[in-house]
């Protein structure tokens, strides 16, 4: 009988039913007031015949005798009903405070066959909730992209809510539901929130479920309230660029790698074009099966700086347009400069065997550069040389002399961070070291870390390798001298040198280059403490100041496109930002969100909201009023032309 109860309206203010009691005085006054106008006519003969006519005695005609009364009673009934605020109850329980989270991440821009985006569908559903808002209910709208933004306070002001709903726009970033949940959690401290509603396409960050081997959306959050997850219908097929990077193949050429991925829902086809400085540098045609991806490689000359734009030109339907472009800027190739004193023969040997590396001091002893890309030295003074990457060999930093002493005893490597960039593919386990750095008594690891050092390798008495970051500069400290170890004779030594060089190449933007993703603009090195104007792709701009290191950091980049950085109107730099997110491009959607203690399944059916009837009833009352006016003002019927 639930279908029956859903059709029986409820009343929000049943107390207004007292208005029905006004029916009594209306009836009384009507009959007291009923005084007919006397009209003398020549004869009643015809009128008596009319009255005696059968049709006159029909029930409807009897009703007509008091039609004014009936109209007035109907009008009052409608007004009383409208005042009682009837509504058809929906599926959802009525809550006083209800936060509504709306996913506005990039995948919500995916369109279906009708051309509607997921966000538009979500907005339509939320708009219904706003329309069906009952007195005493208050909503707050929260848009969730890579961060959450509260659009309104808790309010029942429909125009405000509608305006806020309309203001929600797609941000070209992956979604991060945690922020929205945390915001709701903060609201729950001041309002009684039992439940929140989350509208999303289900394209959330996933990880593989170890139990099932399938991806699942796991959210590290302890829910203090219930979550109703409303999943938007799936969009159409899509193909997009998910990666664009370049690696220097040699001195003359960059290898540009471009990955395109398709949705699991169906095959996709597209033409891929790579433009370099406005010229076509390469193009290809890609046909992907469901869920497939393909990596394309293009060669780009490295003799000059290149501004690369990768474009997808879909053949057929493409649900998401924003993942069809990506930008990458490649600098002109040059030799990488390394300062390495002649005493460090082992390092120089390793460096000189690498192509495109200029090692100084050269044979004539000249080392006149102000800055290098890499400094490798066992002289403490060389630590001050200007270079983004520095490796100090057998040198104890000054600020650690109070904490660590170097003992003339053998040491062995107990553990090391294999994933540290310096130590990738380097095996230190069997390296024999004749010096042993030892922590002084009372010194603990956190004490060293507090000074800004990261311990990359541990000996049996203390740290062996440290890393210190100072702004953009990275300094590695080998607390033992390589000449007093077997490290130079190990296979891992040239790998370690190569890792150093790779990091230096990265800093010099000469090794590998990756296209920038949406989210935050990559840091740009500019003049210190100077204000720059950053113009977004949509034409809006903001003023930003560089920090003490001359870096322009923390500029939000929520839209794909090219961001222009200007100083006093002059273009300083231009950075293209693409979506480049496989999960957003795949439009893969989960129908269950796993929270810390429970999981939330997407609702199968569209939520039926309360449907208020009082506007319709009020309109009917108005129409009845107009009808009454027309009925009693109209020209009498039945007069022949």
């Amino acid at each position: 009988m639930s279908w029956l109860t859903s059709w029986i309206p409820n009343f929000f203010t049943p107390s207004s039913a007292w208005l029905f009691s006004l029916l009594i005085p209306i009836i009384v006054f009507y009959f007291l007031k009923l005084r007919r106008t006397r009209l003398e006519v020549s004869s009643l003969a015809l009128w008596r015949q009319v009255i005696n006519d059968q049709r006159v005695n029909a029930p409807f005609q009897r009703f007509k005798r008091n039609i004014l009364l009936f109209l007035q009673l109907a009008l009052l009934c409608l007004i009383a009903l409208a005042a009682m605020q009837p509504f058809f109850p929906g599926d959802a329980e009525r809550l006083q405070y209800l936060p509504i989270l709306i996913d506005c991440s990039a995948s919500m821009a995916a369109t279906d066959a009708e051309g509607k985006t997921r966000l538009e569908l979500a907005k339509e559903e939320v708009a219904e909730i706003i329309e069906g808002l009952m007195p005493g209910q208050q909503l707050t709208l929260i848009s969730v992209g890579n961060s959450a933004r509260r659009l309104t306070d808790f309010t029942d002001n429909k125009p405000v809510l509608r305006e806020a709903l309309e203001s929600i726009e797609i941000v070209d970033v992956p979604s991060k539901i945690e922020d929205g949940l945390r915001l709701s959690q903060a609201l729950a401290r001041t309002h009684e929130i039992e439940k929140i509603r989350f509208y999303s396409d289900g394209n959330l960050p996933t990880r593989i479920n170890p139990a099932t081997g399938k991806p699942m959306a796991a959210v590290n959050f302890d829910l203090p309230f219930a979550v109703d997850f409303f999943q938007m219908p799936a969009a159409g097929n899509n193909m997009g660029i998910t990666a664009l990077n370049a690696r220097r193949a040699n001195q003359e050429r960059w290898d540009v790698f471009l990955r395109v991925e398709g949705t699991p829902s169906g095959s996709t086809e597209s033409r891929v074009v790579l433009m370099a400085n406005g010229q076509v540098a390469g193009e290809d045609r890609v046909i992907l099966g469901p869920g497939e991806s393909q990596r394309l490689v293009f060669g780009v000359p490295a003799d000059a700086a290149n501004h690369l734009v990768a474009k997808l030109e879909p053949i057929g339907a493409d649900a998401l347009e924003i993942d069809n472009r990506a930008w990458l800027d490649l600098p002109a190739a040059r030799e990488i400069t390394v300062y390495c004193p002649p005493e460090l023969l082992t390092f120089r040997h390793a460096l000189e065997s690498l192509e495109g590396v200029r090692v100084e001091p050269a044979g004539d002893g000249a080392a006149d550069r102000v800055a290098y890309d890499l400094v490798i030295s066992d002289q403490a003074d060389d630590q001050a040389r200007e270079a983004p990457v520095v490796l100090m060999v057998g040198t104890l930093p000054d600020d650690l002399t109070e904490m660590i002493t170097i003992l003339e005893e053998p040491a062995e490597v107990v553990d090391f961070q294999r994933d540290a960039q310096l130590l990738q593919h380097v095996q230190l386990k069997d390296v024999i070291i004749s010096e042993s750095p030892e922590k002084k008594e009372g010194v603990e690891d956190p004490d060293i870390e507090q000074l800004g050092y990261t311990m990359l390798a541990y000996g049996n008495r203390g740290p062996l390798i440290l890393r210190q970051r100072d702004g953009t500069k990275v300094t590695y400290f080998l607390l033992f001298h390589t000449d007093r170890s077997t490290l130079p004779y190990r296979v891992g030594f040239p790998v370690l040198v190569n890792n150093l060089l790779s990091e230096a190449l990265q800093f010099a933007s000469l090794g590998e280059m990756q296209a920038a993703k949406t989210g935050v603009l990559p840091s740009v090195s500019l003049t210190k403490n100077e204000t720059y104007r950053v113009t977004r792709p949509d034409g809006k701009h903001e003023e930003r100041m560089t920090n003490d290191d001359g870096l322009l950091v923390g500029v939000p980049a929520s839209q794909i496109g090219e961001y222009e950085i200007r100083s006093e109107g002059n273009l300083v730099d231009k950075i293209g930002v693409g979506l480049l997110d496989p999960s957003e491009t795949s439009l893969f959607a989960v129908d269950k969100i796993q929270f810390n203690e429970l999981s939330v399944q997407a609702e199968d059916q569209k939520l039926k909201t309360d449907k208020p009837l009082w506007p319709k009833i009020a309109f009917a009352a108005f129409a009845l009023l107009l009808f009454e006016w027309w009925y009693f003002q109209k020209r009498p019927a039945g007069i022949p032309d």
């Binding site: 009209l39 006519v41 003969a45 009128w47 039609i67």
Partner: protein
């Protein structure tokens, strides 16, 4: 009606009067009296209008022997002349209170005057019977004829007023109790009566009178524009009738009014009479010299 001092009667303008004097009532059948008159009878008579010859038989009036033929043929032949008989034109004018509405009575008197003039000038026996007041309370205009009776005729009509509550059907029966003579009965009324005129018309027909029924209705009776809840008061009987939503009933009212008109027309035609319904707002000249002339009431 404004009356000019040069007018013969205040009922009719002089031009209408002059024209009416030249016109004649045109009955469908000859319903005449034995009395000599101007209507030629089908029977032989003593008028100057030659009809036929026949053989003389003893006893015939010698004055009608055609002596010229006798001198030629030496046989007496009798000259036959058409008999000219007089026709009665009783005018029954409804003087009940219902006629006092919207100029109905004025038009009724004008039409009665016009038709009466035609009868008088045709040397018919024109009489006037007011129908409305209780029986034997109002004098009638006795049958009169000729131009000499015009003054008396107009004077009688001018003296009539609309007051009374006798239905036209009953009034006709009362008239027939006094009237003698065949001819054409002109009944001018609104025929808004609770009774049935069928019996009255039968009596008229039986009395040798051809019925000329003239219904006069006011504009509000022909096309009432009423709305709301009303209490109708009968002008004759002061009876009341409460009607709600009058506007919705106007269609039925019109059906009944049309049905009454059709019924009266049918009743008149069944008795070889004529019937016409006119509005009281219709101009006299239009009714008289257009409608009645075209429909053959007068010639």
């Amino acid at each position: 009606m404004s009356v000019s001092t040069s007018q013969f009667t205040k009922l009719l303008p002089n031009d209408v009067l002059a024209r009416a004097e030249r016109m004649r009532i045109n009955p469908r059948r000859r319903r005449t009296n034995r009395m000599r008159g101007e209507h030629l009878s089908g029977k032989g008579g003593t008028s100057i209008e030659f009809s036929d010859f026949r053989d003389y038989v003893p006893g015939d009036d010698m004055r009608y022997v055609d002596w010229n033929i006798f001198s030629r043929l030496n046989q007496p032949y009798l000259k036959l002349f058409a008999h000219e008989e007089e026709m009665h034109v009783p005018i029954l004018i409804d003087t009940s209170a219902s006629m006092a509405f919207e100029g109905k009575f004025e038009l009724a008197r004008q039409l009665a005057a016009s038709l009466g003039v035609m009868g008088l000038m045709s040397v018919e026996k024109v009489s006037v019977y007011p129908c409305g007041p209780p029986p034997r309370t109002t004098p009638n205009l006795k049958p009169c004829s000729g131009r000499a009776s015009l003054k008396k005729f107009f004077g009688f009509l001018e003296g009539l007023s609309a007051a009374g509550d006798l239905g036209i059907d009953l009034a006709i029966e009362e008239v027939l109790k006094n009237h003698r003579g065949k001819g054409t009965a002109i009944v001018i009324s609104d025929f808004l009566t609770f009774g049935d005129v069928s019996r009255s018309f039968n009596l008229l027909h039986g009395a040798g009178l051809e019925i000329f029924g003239l219904q006069i209705l006011g504009p509000s009776e022909r096309n009432p524009e009423l709305t709301g809840d009303l209490r109708f008061v009968d002008s004759e009987s002061s009876q009341t009738l409460d009607v709600s939503s009058v506007g919705e009933l106007l269609g039925i009212y019109h059906e009944h009014r049309q049905a009454l008109e059709d019924y009266l027309g049918s009743e008149c035609r069944k008795r070889a009479g004529r019937f016409l319904s006119v509005g009281s707002d219709a101009p006299l000249k239009t009714v008289l010299f257009d409608t009645l002339l075209r429909q053959g009431w007068i010639r």
